[in-house]
């Protein structure tokens, strides 16, 4: 437990204080909770991406997987399937698309960057080929989950919190979680120690896919329509969140808590600037700066730790 997400935590505090000074309309808990529904999909995918990145891999296909699953789910609902069966189908489809990535990475020994760069194009391409410029409307019974409150908290946010708890426990309190860290630290050492490296990788990518499946249901319900061009560029948001959260892109380092704090930070920064009418191009600059800052702070921290360890 050497990786404490101090950096995102500190930035979150500074950000909240700055944000409340920037606009009088920002600090409104109902509004913040309502806005959280826009980030539920990003958050879910970031939780799984934490596993992927810690294992020394990357999954660029999450946005495309989300869109393809969202389009297929909408098609199934339009074809008259019941909501419970579509929920199960969406989770299975997402998991399956993720597992395909995992299989290609683990069994064919292809770099995950290239595999998922490919499936990123393929999955969105299939969605576009299937729907074209048209959109599929979702039945009224399926929409509006983001407006549904449970103890005043929007349901998508609760789903995210629940997923945080589950994935956090898996990553930090199970043998499987240790395997993920171990593979990311040294794949060769893990193989020689007899860890099921291939199976772990496939499961990690399948988990990433599962989150895309759940995210697909959320975005379908929130927008009421499915189209091939939704959530463009969301994969970069997801990766940004995980890296700002302190995960090392080279693997072996990262935490669920860090990812969650970083998600809140990105959400806070974007929302605060939006309410305060900061132009979109400046918002991008700030988010980019945040990413560099987080990576830099992480590296400085490591350097500092190494020095103090040497002194001891």
């Amino acid at each position: 437990m050497k990786d404490r997400p101090i950096v995102p935590a500190v930035l979150l505090v500074i950000g909240t204080i700055l944000a409340s000074r920037l606009s009088p309309h920002f600090l409104d808990i109902h509004y913040l909770l309502d806005t959280s529904t826009l980030y539920a999909e990003t958050g879910l995918m970031a939780l799984a991406m934490t596993f992927v990145i810690i294992s020394g891999n990357i999954d660029l296909s999450v946005g495309s997987n989300l869109v393809l699953t969202a389009c297929l789910s909408a098609k199934l609902l339009a074809a008259g399937w019941g909501i419970p069966s579509v929920v199960v189908a969406a989770c299975l489809m997402g998991t399956c698309f993720g597992a395909i990535n995992g299989w290609l990475v683990a069994k064919l020994k292809l770099p995950s960057f290239l595999v998922t760069l490919g499936t990123m194009a393929i999955y969105r391409g299939i969605a576009q080929a299937m729907l074209g410029p048209a959109s599929v409307k979702l039945p009224k019974a399926f929409t509006g989950l983001d407006q549904l409150l449970w103890f005043k908290i929007p349901v998508p946010f609760l789903i995210f919190l629940f997923a945080t708890l589950v994935t956090g426990l898996i990553l930090h309190r199970t043998v499987f979680g240790r395997w993920v860290f171990s593979i990311g630290t040294s794949e060769r050492a893990s193989t020689y120690s007899g860890l099921p490296v291939d199976r772990t990788k496939i499961i990690v990518f399948a988990l990433s896919g599962l989150m895309c499946g759940i995210g697909a249901l959320l975005i379908d319900s929130r927008l009421g329509v499915a189209r091939h061009d939704l959530a463009r560029g969301i994969e970069l948001d997801v990766i940004t969140v995980v890296v700002v959260g302190g995960a090392a892109i080279t693997g072996g380092k990262g935490s669920t808590l860090g990812t969650v704090l970083a998600l809140f930070l990105v959400m806070l920064v974007r929302t605060a600037m939006g309410v305060a009418n900061v132009k979109a191009e400046y918002q991008l600059t700030v988010i980019g700066g945040l990413l560099i800052l987080a990576v830099l702070a992480g590296n400085l921290g490591q350097l500092f730790n190494r020095r103090s360890a040497a002194r001891r």
Partner: protein, 354 residues
């Protein structure tokens, strides 16, 4: 070590506490309600314009229409573009603006239906929703009124006729559009296809439609692709200002425009489309583009600002007059047309400055 871990957990809690304190103080400092409610006495109506994307001069011109009339109408005007040119990033802007206290949201929609839920939530909070330039076709109930540049059904045929005239009504041509789901672009392309059935255009052939996503780089790549894929190409039509500017640059570089260095012994490739005069002045002066069309986008801004400032609840058949602009009639589905198409060429382009 243990302390540091606890510290990390504690910080967000501290932040929330700070947040709570901040709220108390700001609430007393600024009295107006968070959103929606019509402006209180003496309070200016807050109008926000949400364009499709950032850095598009076309929307800058729409914004100018708002800005020029904001002072006389007494509105508090502001433009807020989404980070990327798609519907999902406009959602976030809508939510932020409602929270920021906007009374009127004027939006150029990136999708005819993906914004429905968010716009309904804004309307529930008393925010007036007006679409400009790009309407929610088929989902008109999700906005209060639409201000459109000109009668859309006439743009497709008018553009085709302009292109046909410059290519002597014969040869292959291609279309370079914006995104695959931009409602107005698709409506115009449909209009062109329908007009193509007219025997006047029997010798013309539409060989391909490509999409540059209203991004200069992608548009250039697509335009270059057209030149290599279709050696017999005689004309390109780009009904979007970004696409037309990019294609003009590509044509100029290739030298294939009529009278260009590489167009010897052949008529050259003619280019036309929709754009603002300022963006095309160089291309027209060099002869790369002979003529093109547009309305004045600022007109839409002026009309939307007027509707917003007066908090007008229009219905089909209503008429209203804007001083200095003329009389306008509200058409079916609360659509208001701002004006008609102008054709710009060497003779008149210098008279316009936008």
């Amino acid at each position: 070590m243990n302390f540091q871990r606890k510290f990390a957990l504690l910080l967000p809690i501290l932040a929330l506490v700070a947040a709570g304190c901040g709220k108390g103080s700001t609430e007393t400092a600024s009295s107006p309600e968070a959103s929606g409610s019509p402006a209180a006495t003496g309070e200016k109506v807050k109008v926000v314009f949400i364009p499709k994307n950032t850095g598009n001069p076309y929307f800058t011109q729409v914004a100018k229409g708002f800005e020029s009339s904001a002072a006389s109408l007494g509105i508090d005007f502001n433009t807020q573009a989404p980070a990327t040119g798609d519907a999902t990033s406009q959602l976030e802007v809508i939510k932020n603006q409602v929270q920021g206290g906007a009374n009127v949201i004027v939006i150029s929609a990136n999708s005819p239906d993906a914004l429905n839920e968010a716009l309904d939530q804004a309307k529930e909070k008393g925010v007036e929703v007006i679409t400009v330039d790009s309407d929610l076709t088929g989902n008109e109930s999700h906005r209060d009124a639409a201000v459109l540049p000109t009668d859309f059904s006439k743009i497709g045929p008018a553009q085709l006729e302009l292109l046909a005239k410059t290519m002597n009504y014969e040869g292959e041509f291609a279309i370079l559009s914006a995104t695959t789901d931009a409602p107005n672009q698709n409506a115009w392309i449909e209009g062109m296809k329908t007009a193509m059935k007219n025997p006047t255009y029997a010798k013309m052939k539409l060989v391909e439609i490509v999409y540059g996503d209203d991004e200069p780089q992608k548009s250039s790549t697509e335009a270059e692709g057209l030149l290599t894929k279709h050696p017999n190409l005689r004309g390109i039509l780009s009904p979007t200002s970004v696409g037309l500017a990019a294609t003009a640059q590509v044509l100029e570089n290739s030298g294939l425009y009529p009278g260009g260095p590489k167009a010897t012994g052949r008529p050259g490739i003619v280019l036309t489309g929709l754009s603002t005069p300022n963006q095309m002045k160089k291309a027209v002066a060099k002869g790369v583009v002979a003529s093109f069309q547009l309305w004045d986008p600022a007109d839409m801004g002026t009309i939307a600002a007027y509707l917003g400032a007066k908090k007008m609840k229009v219905k089909p058949g209503d008429t209203f007059e804007i001083p200095g602009k003329g009389k306008f009639t509200v058409g079916e589905k609360n659509v208001i047309y701002a004006g008609s198409l102008l054709t710009f060429d060497k003779t008149n382009i210098d008279k316009y400055d936008f």
